[in-house]
Amino acid sequence: MDAFKSLVNYISNPTILFTAVLVGFPFVFPPTNWFYKVHKKLGIHKLWTKKGLIIMVAITIAFFIFGLGDDNFKKIVLKPDNVPISGLIILLIFFTWLSLSQAYKNDKLIDEGKPVDEHYEAPNDKVLVWPDLVYVELISLILFSAFMLIWSIGLPAPLEEPANPSESPNPAKAPWYFLGLQEMLVYFDPWYAGVVLPTFIIIGLMAIPYIDTDPNGSGYYSYKNRMLSLSIYLFGWLVLWNVLIVIGTFLRGPNWGFFGPFEYWDSHRLEALTNVNLSELFYIKWLNMGLPSNILVREAPGLLIMFLTFAVTPPLLAKTALKSFYERLGSTRYTIFVVLMIFGALLPVKMYLRWFFNLKYIISMPEFFFNF
């Protein structure tokens, strides 16, 4: 038992957990034909069968039941405001399965040259709203209301001590739906993690229909024909949003330190703060000299990297790996798409730079509150 718990504690460390998710992701949700072939060969597509659903849900529930036997796990998971997130985990598994099982079924029908499941012949296949839709709605409302009543009677809403501005709790956490962003505060400054990044997320979401202009695949579940866009969306939604929320909620304890699910939240545990900036690495460690006093010279390595990332990479990719993309999307759509993708990719990149090189900032200009 204890060996299993310490194993879970060990592998749920973001370094390992996130790497495993990152490596496994393209095989579970393949973005290209090559990954799709491996995905089929390894039999991962069987996750989206009934048996697959039962196994996934059973493992998750078994883990929670096992975990509730542990005091540390119980304390965090049963916190009233955290209960919806446990529900969210199960719901995400179920609805990912529900959409992909239908998508794979339709993929097969398309391969066989048959119409998809949602195909209908207007006007013969139309049904009347009264009663066919109205009664579905009524039953949903009644069931949901019953569920809300049971939830509300069973779980009292949390009310802690009266507000006291002079006594901050450790850790102080934002509401759970913002914990993915709060997790990003570990790797970025507030101006980016709290303001610019959310703005990019909103703009990026709104831009989706204007970037993915392929009119096919509307109105029915499918995977194969929309592989790349589905894979990108699922990565953002499942990994960058929900996995980070789960980490931020369940695995971040005092001083925002990392704690495994079965670990005691020790507020006196010391974290070594040895993070260094790129300028310090470059001038002091590699060139063995002092930091230049001119800000622009001091930050030249970081500025150069950022310039290469944002000004050189997009045109370079347009000429090479993403050539077909560039031709299909045109220069405006292509630029917006690639820049948004780079901003998205910067999140994991910065995480790994921190874990492996203790890198704090690529560009550090505290004089202007500008650290990135």
Binding site: D81, L88, F95, S99, Q102, V116, D117, E118, H119, Y120, K126, V127, L128, V129, W130, D132, L133, S140, F144, M148, S152, I153, P156, A157, L159, E160, E161, P162, A163, P165, E167, S168, P169, A172, K173, A174, P175, Y177, F178, P190, W191, G194, V195, V196, I202, I208, Y210, T213, D214, G217, S218, G219, Y220, Y221, L230, Y233, M365, F368, F369, F370
Partner: protein, 262 residues
């Protein structure tokens, strides 16, 4: 067959019933069933007829409808809570305490809080479904963007409500969130570029004039913040979200109803 009618049939054919529900009577024929939808201000959010997959839960997940339904639950329970809750530092916490301790079987606050969590999840899952069925594709691009705004407004509604119990959980969650506003580029006192907005020695963006100050109504979380969040939560944001919801629902109909395979 006897001509005797039971009480329900009599009511359904009487003058009062017929005047309220245009047409009257139980809809039995196809024509009557279509007229029910056309004649009702609420039901005519829907079209009269739908493709058959649009009534299947495995296709729709019912998450859009559920989000709207939860919004109604939250509005009603929220109005009831407003009768008992005073948004001042002196009373806020004790009023919530009273709701918990003085009302036997009182679950209005639970319904409101868990409903808020449920609405966030329902809106996320609705978006997930819409993406998975490719329903953001033309001609529905703009309605997808309206949906993104509704998502943001849902989160803001939940966030502003989080402060109102005025307990430790509330103010420190809002402290974490509102400190971000102080780091807004150019407009936050601790944001990059704010020192550039100055004439000579006079800074325009200070702790008493930046984005954070505007959000919480002062340098520190206090009376003004509570009132500000209360007004935003109860009046300001619901007003805005209802406008966007109207556009969202109207555009669903105008863009051809639920998405279908071409």
């Amino acid at each position: 067959m006897s001509d005797k009618k039971n009480i329900f049939e009599k009511i359904a054919e009487g003058q009062i019933w017929k005047s309220i529900f245009r047409g009257g009577g139980a809809p039995k024929t196809r024509r009557q069933r279509m007229m029910v939808v056309l004649n009702s201000v609420f039901l005519h959010l829907h079209p009269v007829r739908l493709p058959k997959h649009a009534v299947k839960l495995k296709f729709t997940w019912c998450m859009g409808g559920l989000s709207f339904f939860i919004f109604l639950i939250l509005t009603i329970s929220g109005i009831l809570l407003m009768f008992y809750y005073r948004p001042t530092i002196e009373y806020a916490y004790t009023d919530i305490m009273d709701l918990t301790e003085q009302v036997p079987f009182g679950i209005m606050r639970e319904i409101h809080r868990w409903g808020a969590h449920a609405m966030v999840i329902a809106v996320w899952l609705h978006m997930f479904r819409v993406f998975m069925t490719g329903s953001y594709k033309p001609p529905r691009e703009f309605n997808w963007s309206v949906g993104v705004i509704l998502l943001v407004l849902t989160l803001l509604l939940s966030f502003t409500g989080y402060l109102l119990p005025w307990d430790q959980l509330a103010i420190w969650a809002i402290a974490v969130g509102s400190n971000m506003a102080g780091a807004t580029p150019f407009l936050g006192a601790e944001g990059p570029g704010s020192s550039l907005l100055a004439i000579g020695d006079i800074n325009f963006i200070t702790k008493a004039s930046d984005a954070r100050f505007g959000l919480i109504g002062g340098r520190f979380l206090g009376e003004a913040t509570l009132l500000r969040f209360y007004v935003l939560h109860c009046i300001g944001l619901p007003f805005i979200i209802m406008i966007f919801m109207a556009v969202h629902f109207w555009r669903i109909r105008k863009d051809g109803g639920i998405s279908t395979p071409v």
